[in-house]
Amino acid sequence: MEAVRDLELDLDSFEGPFDLLLTLVLKDEVGLGDVEVAGVVLTFMERLAERESPDLEACGEFLVLMAALLELKARGLFPDEDEFAFDDLDPEEAAGELAERLALYRRFKAAAGWLEERLEAESDRYFRLGPAPLAPIPERPLAPQEPAALATALRALAAEPPEPSLRHLELRFPPVSLFLDRFRAVLRRRRRFDFDTEVGSLSRIEQAVAFLALLELRKAGEIKLGQPAPFEPITVWSAAA
């Protein structure tokens, strides 16, 4: 019979040679709690049954290894060794206690299995549970896109934007003389005019300059000004009239 360590195992938690399983357990890469010892024993027994005569050496090695494995596993079942003084018990009592705990755990593991099956069977039961959170909105996949359209859009974004114009911020002061000439020409034609009407279509800067021109004409004595009240229309007469 081949060495026990080469025994090929096919367990729920592990698949491979027994030797590798032991190595992984000792390195804590496989939880001993997950190792199904009965499965290991069964595999060995089946291998043994295939032989015509028993391999006592292999049996002995197997027993030693399994005893070590079971001791490790049993220790794992007593996380707080102070709570349960194993040493105070004689071997038979300890074995009995251990068997009892294993049997109890097996029952609760089976109960957990029953709960899992029940949960599955009841998976189509819905009931109100306070304010239920809304299910996430399913992701809507994007419609097929043309790469060329994406490139065009990116190209437009990458282009340098035009320089912003500041023309509207520029202040242009027309010469006062322009309005002096203009008002003199108007007074030659009409004798009097309404200042607000005359400059109504001009910009505020132009209106200010026009007003300066008006003051200049008044200062020179060329015109007379009249205003019934503050902020009322200003009337302009020729002083020669």
Binding site: F108, A111, E122, A135
Partner: protein, 198 residues
């Protein structure tokens, strides 16, 4: 004499409508006693009215089903509407319960009120994380402290019974009936040993 025909209303019908309203607004299952107290009626008549409602609200006849769950009565969605329900709401309580959580839940369901050290003693590993997760899901809750040591004890909640569709914890199977696989294993070992001996 007025002579006008008047339909005589069955008083149980009226009580059934009241119970229907109570069950609609209740956030958890209501017992017969709670229904009787709220509707100011007798428990026997409440039971009769519930029977009437159960025949009206049942699978295949209505989208709402009246069920006896967690020691009381509650409305739930009909199973045929489960797909539509799943698109509307999530089931955070039930989703992704790990093996450790299920084992812890089983211990609390059968032995509760039970403390974390007791759970750890049975399972062989610390139960802190599993207990915290189950408390967060609302499946177990604190139920006082141990007289010695003062460890917090836990019990399952009515939500547990509702999620698992149990009318009460007595519906849980007997623990002794569940661990039959041990005998199967023993039988298989004996079979192998028998082949070896033959």
């Amino acid at each position: 004499m007025t002579g006008a025909l008047r339909l005589v209303e069955n008083p149980v019908d009226r009580l059934a409508r009241t119970i229907e309203a109570l069950l609609v607004i209740a956030p958890s299952p209501l017992t017969i006693e709670e229904l009787a107290a709220a509707s100011e009626d007798e428990t026997e008549r409440v039971e009769t009215a519930l029977g009437l409602l159960a025949s009206r609200y049942r699978e295949g006849r209505s989208g709402i089903v009246l069920e006896h769950v967690s020691g009381g009565y509650a409305f739930r969605a009909a199973r045929e509407a489960a797909d539509a329900c799943s698109r509307l709401v999530e089931r955070p309580v039930q989703r992704g319960l790990s093996q450790a959580a299920l084992e812890t839940l089983a211990v609390v369901a059968y032995l509760g009120p039970v403390s974390r050290p007791e759970i750890a003693r049975i399972r062989g590993v610390a139960a802190d994380s599993a207990v915290a997760g189950l408390v967060e899901r609302g499946l177990i809750a604190e139920a006082g402290r141990e007289s010695e040591g003062g460890a917090v004890r836990y019990r399952v909640t009515p939500l547990f019974e509702r999620v698992f569709g149990l009318s009460s914890l007595s519906e849980l199977p007997r623990l002794d009936d569940l661990a039959a696989d041990g005998d199967d294993l023993r039988t298989r070992l004996e079979e192998v040993a028998g082949r070896r001996g033959a």
